[in-house]
Symmetry: C2
Subunit: 138 residues, 2 copies
């Protein structure tokens, strides 16, 4: 097994669609931010919910985001990164549709805003764990 | 139990120091990037290794980074975010010292560069999972 395997887009979407948690990276005035989020991926889009706060105000300034989710066992690990633009849902119909999706917040606080990432780029890798090779092979 | 508990700096460092994996967020020309990394946190710093590639070249342009690590059980979750500046180790002595630390790459590929994040800001939260409250309380 190769140490690192590049995953194709279908493999990446399969992994994304099975994930419930990931991390959202934003860039605000050159400063990276990262937040854990519950997310729901389907049809080329990733949906999440958020309350008022840093995430929402930063997204209004710079909508470019990267979302990462990963998993591992003792033998292998994988990571998928999806990039795109985030948009706060504002239409009544799209919010009602989002309400029907299996996207539940884990924490019992109100998160009134739906944010949808329109994914333009997706990449993923699978890692096989093992010992480091010799740095200075003879 | 409160739904969200803010962790103090000591609690955050304890969680960081017990973690072996996290995600590094960078900002390159306003575009957020996110990478999974193996890391070792101690003494106000976070150390990781990387090969040549996107991470390294982006760090050379913008050294501001955010590192996130998290964990969860069926009942609670937690997340710690550390922000600071990343620096590629270049001195022979500091590289030798880093070589002694328990920072092993999981994947058997050569990652020759040590990068150290000098943490200037740390924050963390613990989440208690539960059902969503009524959106429209009577």
């Amino acid at each position: 097994m190769e140490a690192i395997t590049v995953l194709d887009a279908d493999q990446c979407w399969n992994l994304l669609s099975e994930s419930v948690m990931g991390r959202l990276a934003l860039s605000a005035d050159g400063e990276p931010e990262i937040f854990p989020i519950n997310a729901y991926a389907h049809n080329g889009k990733i949906l999440f919910r958020t309350g008022e706060g840093t995430k929402l105000s930063e997204l209004a300034v710079n909508s470019r985001v990267a979302f990462e989710t990963d998993g591992f066992t003792s033998k292998i690990g994988w990571s998928v990164v999806a990039k795109g633009h985030a948009r706060i849902l504002t239409g009544t119909k799209e919010i009602q549709e989002a309400d029907q999706l299996p996207l539940k917040p884990w924490v019992p606080t109100l998160k009134m805003n739906y944010v949808e990432i329109d994914v333009t780029e997706i990449s993923g890798r699978r890692f096989a764990f093992g010992p480091e090779p010799d740095r200075y092979p003879v």
